[in-house]
Symmetry: C2
Subunit: 576 residues, 2 copies
């Protein structure tokens, strides 16, 4: 029962739900709704989908997350990076504006949802560890630049496409002749207003006596104000007839739940992008959820978060939506507005549903340039060039992985970029651990301690070589161990014994075991005996499952001191 209820976190909080939580959650839901409506429309446009799809993706998915998610304050829905990845993935199998494009987007949500749930049930969340911080950070910065560049066409009123920076810039450059002045005017006004709201308004409001948190929340309503003002302007000035692209008629009502058409070939094509979208969405979402939970000393359960986000995506798929995940800005707003439980998400879903049913006629005259401005302002805050500099200073290896991700994403596309970054960080990790620190050790005179002969004044023997390895032994470094031992032995013609000091070895995998067997055999053939010392308990337990300890020519000593005492080595003169 406990295991079962673990899959339904709602059973944990719904029972204790009270009037005070209800009030807080309702207020938070109203504020998030105001923020979410323009975002939903804008990110749907970014994904190449009709605006109402963004609204659909902000209803059922929120309810599903409220039932299955463990974060009390995470706000799910369409987000910028996932929308860009959706546009890329779906753009490869269908043309924007067609029914096939819509179908592919919902199918993508379905595959992504199933992948997330599968990862959750099989506790495969660790796969997200493949995405290192520098890779994620570089990917988000590069995606934000791509997204902002891609929105320029809406601000200029030209039509251009492309999935990489050169394609986008080239496309816009080719259309500079057909810029629409009215569109530029409305876009520039929206952009200026939104930047003013973001950079100045909060300080002005605080100066006028508003509490900082309230000022913060009012600030988040900026996009809604921009939407309202530009709708009004478009309506009064009849901007539609001046060539300004408007959102147009949005179908009222909510589509009946339906499963996406399951085309097996399409599933195969979309599987890899769906997995990437799932992982990126999960990593981002968990990071926000973790941050907010710790502030209130609450807990989230990452494996259950996979199920929560998976359920949200399947809900998106059955309600004609597209892939969703937890959004950073809106979760912070939800938290700051005082949301106490996942019920805030359900209330948000209800208000979005009401808006979809009754407010959509008001959006007909909304200029697309306003949405583009909203997107640009939102995503440019994700560009973190400082992070690139910090990683450069901290570690060149991490920087290379980050640089590969940024360059790959900008110039070859989002999927290639992320795969390049992950591949390079794996290779670099393997490189780092493939050459572990190994020290030839000697006895510190008068003690039982053995230290690196290069750093300390120690006593060594001519016929016994003691080597300490400062790393667990596994496939990436097992051959290096073989090579290093071979090298050390080749330099010492009088050698009779080699003692491998294993105090820092936490694990020995099958590759390393075979290397040890090989080292033992080779040394034996060369007339040298291999011994081990200070082998940890769990490592020893595992070695006992193999024949290595029987084949080992020498002994396994509890301490390096004991080894040296038993081997009665011929002391070398202490270096002067």
């Amino acid at each position: 029962m406990t295991r079962f209820s673990g899959y339904f976190p709602i059973l944990g909080w719904a029972g204790d739900y009270n009037r005070s939580a209800l009030a807080s959650d309702l207020v938070a839901a109203m504020i998030v709704t105001v923020m979410l409506i323009p975002q939903s429309l804008a990110y749907a446009m970014l994904a190449g989908l009709p605006p109402q799809v963004g609204l659909y993706a902000s209803i059922l998915p929120l309810v599903a997350y409220a039932v299955f998610g463990t974060s009390r304050t995470l706000a799910v829905g369409p987000v910028a990076v996932v929308s860009l990845m959706t546009a890329t993935a779906v753009g490869e199998v269908a043309t924007q504006g067609t029914q096939a494009y819509l179908a592919a987007a919902t199918l993508l949500a379905l595959i992504s949802g199933m992948a997330l749930i599968a990862m959750g049930l099989f506790r495969l969340g660790f796969v997200a560890n493949f995405l290192s911080h520098p890779v994620i950070s570089g990917f988000i910065t590069a995606s934000a630049i791509l997204i902002a560049a891609g929105q320029l066409k809406h601000l200029l009123g030209v039509s251009a496409g492309g999935h990489t920076l050169p394609e986008i810039v080239g496309g816009i450059a080719g259309e500079l002749g057909s810029i629409n002045p009215s569109t530029v005017a409305i876009g520039a006004a929206a952009l200026a207003f939104l930047y003013f709201v973001r950079l100045r308004l909060k300080r002005l409001l605080i100066g006028a006596g508003l509490r900082p948190r309230a000022a913060d929340i009012v600030t988040k309503a900026g996009p809604v104000a921009a939407v309202a003002a530009t709708i009004l302007a478009a309506h009064i000035l009849d901007l539609g007839s001046r060539g300004v692209a408007l959102v147009g008629i949005i179908p009222q009502g909510i589509p009946a739940p339906a499963l996406p058409v399951f085309d097996f070939d399409l599933v195969r094509t979309l599987a890899a992008p769906a997995l990437l979208i799932s992982l990126i969405g999960f990593v981002e979402s968990v990071s926000v959820a973790q941050t907010l939970a710790t502030k209130r000393r609450q807990r989230i359960i990452p494996d259950q978060e996979l199920i929560g986000l998976g359920a949200a995506n399947i809900a998106a798929a059955v309600s004609s939506g597209y892939p969703v995940t937890g959004g950073f800005a809106r979760s912070v707003v939800n938290f700051d507005a005082g949301a106490e439980t996942q019920a805030a998400g359900i209330f948000t879903a209800v208000s979005i549903a009401l808006a979809t049913l009754f407010l959509t006629p008001l959006l007909t005259d909304l200029p697309q340039a306003t949405l583009a401005a909203t997107i640009i302002v939102a995503v440019l805050s994700l560009v973190d060039l400082g992070a690139i500099r910090r990683v450069w200073i901290y570690s060149r290896a991490d920087f290379s992985a980050m640089a590969a991700t940024v360059a790959g994403t900008l110039f070859l596309g989002v999927e290639v970029g992320i795969v390049m970054g992950v591949g390079l960080s794996l290779v670099l990790h393997l490189y780092r651990t493939s050459r572990p620190h190994m020290a030839v050790v000697g006895q510190v005179a008068g003690t039982e301690h053995f230290r690196n002969i290069e750093r300390h004044e120690v006593v060594t023997c001519q016929d016994v070589l003691s080597v300490r390895v400062d790393e667990s032994l596994y496939f990436a470094n097992s051959r290096y161990l073989e090579d290093r031992i071979a090298e050390l032995v080749a330099q010492r013609p009088q050698l009779r014994h080699v003692v491998l000091m294993c105090s820092a070895v936490n694990a020995i995998d099958a590759s390393a075991l075979e290397s040890l067997e090989e080292i033992n055999r080779r040394l034996r053939d060369g007339g040298i005996t291999l011994h081990l010392s200070e082998v940890k308990g769990p490592v020893m337990d595992r070695l006992k499952r193999s024949h290595f300890l029987e084949e080992l020519e020498g002994g396994v000593f509890l301490s390096q001191y004991e080894a040296m005492a038993q081997l009665q080595c011929e002391r070398e003169p202490v270096p002067a």
Copy 2:
């Protein structure tokens, strides 16, 4: 000069060359030649190439390795697994028996050689570490089974193709009606004779008074005896007219050196298989070379081995050959026969060249079934089912990677198999290290030691939590660290301080740094101070390059004892 001469190991040994070494090397070369001739013909057939190509690949490559290689006794040339991989790779771009097939095989050797040399010059030999022992071992076993199955058609005298076990078995099953009895008879006789030689002859010879080493070498001449006997039989009984497939006329002479045709599209298609062939060949070759070198306390230099093998492959490419590497059996024979320097390889090359010039007319009547029998006997000794069992007992994780490699190779082909094995072993490694051992520690009463509270009777505090992490912190486990700390904090409402004990942390990468910053921020927001203790010198140096130490709310203590003394914790009652 030293660096330069490092690239030409021949400069190191040719100067000291003397008459005694000459005598030893000449004897070894003769014995290796006897073994190499039937192998060259057989492996060329396995690669889908005319028999003379195997001879060409056993001349210049040996000379190139003698100049650039660091192993004194490694014998390079065509080997079974690489020949199979060649057949697979080239089979995808050309049809057997065509000029295009030949050209693609030499191009494959060229790409493989250039890849090896590039890896050697840039010291990228560590890439071979991606191939864990269980993956290699599983791959060789599965390849050997595939090769043996693929030769059955030659033993039965039927024509069938296929690159996977089901294809091969299905192909032969469909041809069972057209079995050629004479071919079966000659094949079965050759197979029986070769197995007799391998399993019995050595013991008989030793029983008859021969020294074991000499008996061993005579045994290796078994294939030549089989070749001679079956040629004679085919000639006398006119087996060719009875439908027995014979080798046919082999062009006499050695082709003039020429570069393979460089077709860019073809290069792109062959690049990935060429890289796999290079890595597999390198790993196998270095393992043999290392084993033999250590026996005589000599050294090989793995990065220079890449250059040596690369030179050998380029030599193969310019002399109409195909990919080569160091062979296990023939290197052992070379070593046992007393080879002292790389000159033995040059002498072997000269004898193979002479054989190519003068002996090939004798091979016209050689039945292909004899070569198939040679291959089967040679490769079945590579099948190591015991290794699979040992890995199963030792580690289930390693076993899964091995099983994936075996199944992938047998049922989906050699390239898919190796990629599946490598991929899975990386994922499993990440999984293993993504959940490092973390212990909450307390003070052993009356000492300055801090131990795991679950294993020792220790004193802890209500408001201070001390956690020790037993692993370097990097991207694979940084999020786990965040999750674990969040979990531990959520359980302890009275907490004011968290001390992270870093005695076992050898490195902190940029991902882990960011996680630490995040943990610091989150704890601060929750009213808890993060401290570090026992940070190693190199780790501290790196942390100083970041702003973490300035942002850190708490202190960095030299020892855990000092940390606890300073934090003046409220002692919890000692558990009874």
